[in-house]
Symmetry: C2
Amino acid sequence: MGVWENSLKSPEQKQFYSITELTREFGVSTRTIRFYEDEGLIQPVRRGRTRLFKPSDRRLLMLIMRGKRLGFSIAEIREIISIYKEPPGESGQLKLLIQRVVEKRDQLLQKRKDIDETIAELDQVEEQCLGRMAELGVRT
Amino acid sequence: MGVWENSLKSPEQKQFYSITELTREFGVSTRTIRFYEDEGLIQPVRRGRTRLFKPSDRRLLMLIMRGKRLGFSIAEIREIISIYKEPPGESGQLKLLIQRVVEKRDQLLQKRKDIDETIAELDQVEEQCLGRMAELGVRT
DNA sequence: GGCTGGATTTACTTTTACGTAAATCATTTT
DNA sequence: AAAATGATTTACGTAAAAGTAAATCCAGCC
């Protein structure tokens, strides 16, 4: 039996993931994952010096990767994570949190608008191409 | 009357824009705009050493800014621009162009999916906040 | 004709997000 | 016990996307 004593468990119910397991899953290097830890985005526990990643750490990594795909910086990703973390506490804090949610959502809506515009333009280019190819009598 | 001889013209029908005009419009520095020129994204004409930006250059800048908001690198923005530029020519080229359009669109659709997921999560956080505030009897 | 305010060029600097190399440590295998 | 394997730390390196500084140039003007 391996170190983790969960070789037979399915990915979702695993207690811990190793760093290399996660590098494979997300297609990043160990350096990258350790960098995110240095930046405070994740805090895997340790057994000795070795990092043990819980499912919650894995979920955070998924969040981080999604943020990266959307072009958010580490700082912005940290903000988003902190929104999820923050336990709704006192009234003033709640209002602040809602404000941050609204701001982030506006940012995302702007991005979605940009995306839709770009897609529409690409569709136009494609149509022109298809039209031109029809003229040329090319079989698509 | 100013240098450009079009002080009275509306922004859209201007013949030329100065670099500072554009920095104001887009909220970037002159360095940034010159950098994009160095990178070959725009090619303003010159009168002496001074750059004169046509409406088409301005439109390109809008494209660039949109790309930046979406987290695309200069190289990726260059690709997108080249898609628009390329005049549908020969059949093989057309097929290639369509392929590139499809790829870019897939990329954008993935981003939109990421955005929608994130927005949904933010909505959840907001709801929880509002619920908690209702419990506390806070007037929103 | 000297000043003033933009614009330009050149070149060095900075920040972000990692890459890479070297040395060390721990565990498992033989 | 030695070797192999994998993880860690430390530290320097790098590419992209500008920032910034210094010196120069040029047009209009009083």
